[in-house]
Amino acid sequence: MEERQDQEKIKLDQNQDLYRVLIETSRELICLHDPEGIYLYVNPIIETLTGFKPEEMLGRNPYDFIHPDDRDRILTNSHNPAKEGRPTVATQYRFLKKNGDYIWFETLTQPIKNKEGEVTYLNTTSRDVTDQVRLTESLQQEKKFSSIMAELAKVGAWESNIEAGSLYWSSEIYKILERDPSLGIDRDTVYNKYSYSEDIEKLRENNLRVYQKGETYSVEHRMVTETGRVIWVRTQGKPAYSEGRIVGVYGAMQDITLSKLVEEEIRLSEKKFSEAFHSSGNGIILLDKNGHFLELNQSFAKMIGYEPDELLFKSFQDVTYPEDLNTGAEAFRKIIDGERDSAQFAKRYIHKKGHIVWVFITGVAVRKDSGELMFIVSQIQDISRKRILENILREKNARLRSVGTHLKERIAQLEEFNQIVSHNMRSPIGNISTLVKFLEEAETEEERVEYMDYLKTTSDQLLTTLNEIVEVIKIRQSPKVVSEEILFESVFSRVKAMFLGQILECEAEIIADFSKSPSIIYPPVYLESIFLNLLSNSLKYRSESPHPVIRFKTYWSSGNHILEVQDNGLGIDLNKHGDQIFKLHKRFHRNTDGRGLGLFMTKNQIESLGGEIHVESTPGQGTKFIILLSKANEFAI
């Protein structure tokens, strides 16, 4: 009996050792608690799982470690039932680790009762289910997202088992085609009810190819929804295999109606733009921010004589008239810098053939929403013709003005002649008629002789005046006397030689400087006459002191070829005589032998060639004649 007892004891001890080993090496957390949950025993795996040593746990309350959000669940599902000896369920909850993280445990709690059936201990076994919980969480997340994505993208999945003739639609496809999901779906319904008749064949072919050749497809086609709306979808199909054989097709279907509409709209607006761009009579160009042509239309290319392709390799600077490079540059820079969005200006291009093309440009910036410049659209209008017309108009106006001036000159000449006839011719004629009467009435031979003398003098005078006038009329009427290139110096030295005696006699100093403009195309006879009259004039009206100095010079000023003659002679009071200085038979000094003819002739010669003569003078200080011999022709090209 004792032996038996001993044997049983040994057996028991052996069993207890076995259990201890099993418990202490278990991968599961095994704990013994009092009924309130206080740790009485914790197996060593606790340290691997939570970082706490078993002895650190003893005497502590598990609720100190359980995540506050999970405490109620533990209490309801595990602790309370176990305390009362009722069955419990495995419960998942978060348990605090020594490092502050949480570990997910799945714990089963079991009551341990005494003979009287009272719960004396609680036994818990816990597994680390952290990975599993995380996986489940992320799976749920993924599922949630994919359903949101499917909904947002309007993408649904489908599968068709060809052998079984069955069809599966995901909920999103029901939504896309507005079909009640509870009705289910079959292939006949798809083809008869929801397929757009014109696109059915395309779908059948694709599905057949998948089935026969295993080719995947992606096709855009129309469908008709439950409510009769025609929508655009993209359907993708792939072969479904079973034991190496193709048994069906599965894939996705996306509602692309909206993007199709947008696409269509873009296509339409692009078409409109393209039509406007290419068929516009105006030149249109798209420039990048470096001024390179991105695109340009035929009208623009034609405007400057190129093929569109030739210009795509150039920048607008390459075809701009060099002087106008700055014209648009400032506006262009402002557009690039975002200071302004448009600019308008006129400038010149160089045609491929070399001539100038005047254009009017309207440039507008096209920017992204971010403000970044995408390109500049410029409309280019050929205004060459307008410019030419403007130039013609300007020229005509100038000519008209010139004719007006000429006409005024002519009127002034006519008045001048009228004056000459009135004063210089009527006067001797009046004398003659009176003298003839006197002669008739003369009583003595003495008287008769006297009147005859007067008559002779008067008629001579009249003849002289008449000859002078004829001379002037000749000048006026034949302004096209032969011109040739002549050196001022050569004409001047000839004239000076004629006055040599007089010059020596009065010790006149003659200074001539023709260096700034040595020659002119002019009638030599006129130039000689002008020099002769002006030199003679200056010598004649010299002052006795200081000794006479007469300067001749030529130069260009404001497009006029000018001869200037200045003396330090007697001068003329221009306030008194200003308007008479160039008139016939005027003299402004006593005791001189002038007949008042030289300056009159000179003026007529100069004016007959389109020139002008002006005088500046101060009595006692001298006279300066400024002669505009010729003008630069404003119409010369």
């Binding site: 004063h423 006067s427 009046g430 006197f438 007067y454 000094h589």
Partner: protein, 136 residues
């Protein structure tokens, strides 16, 4: 007017020597002239008048003034004359005597109050008579 018996003093300003000769003879024939002074240009005549401005016995009764003359023409004479006419002890009647039939000359003469009339050359004996006897 008691002018027939009165002998007039005349000033002739003209550079045309022949006309001056003819005028002298014609004026002589009117028998109404006491003295005749001639200047070939305006400047001489002005100097003469200024010099004798306060001597009514020397200031002429009539001035016959040519337009077209060297140095100082008839118009310039009138401009100068207007400057001192108020200082003259006697105011002569001024006639422009010119060969010009130019309208602009006639109009210009009419616009000058100092000018009594404009006589076109040649001047007949009758014309001189009428003027000198104030029968104009």
């Amino acid at each position: 007017m008691n002018s027939l018996s009165k002998k007039q003093k005349l000033l002739l300003v003209d550079d045309d020597a022949i006309f001056v000769e003819i005028a002298k003879r014609t004026i002589e024939k009117t028998g109404a002239v006491e003295s005749l002074k001639v200047f070939p240009d305006g400047e001489g005549a002005i100097s003469f008048l200024r010099e004798h401005q306060s001597e009514p016995d020397i200031i002429p009764d009539f001035i016959f003034l040519d337009i077209n003359m060297p140095f100082m023409d008839g118009w310039q004479f009138l401009d100068e004359y207007a400057n001192f006419v108020n200082l003259l002890s006697k105011k002569p009647e001024i006639y422009m005597v010119s060969s010009s039939v130019d309208d602009s000359d006639l109009r210009r003469a009419k616009e000058i109050p100092l000018v009594k009339d404009y006589i076109i050359k040649p001047v007949s004996l009758d014309s001189f008579k009428k003027i000198l006897t104030n029968q104009v």
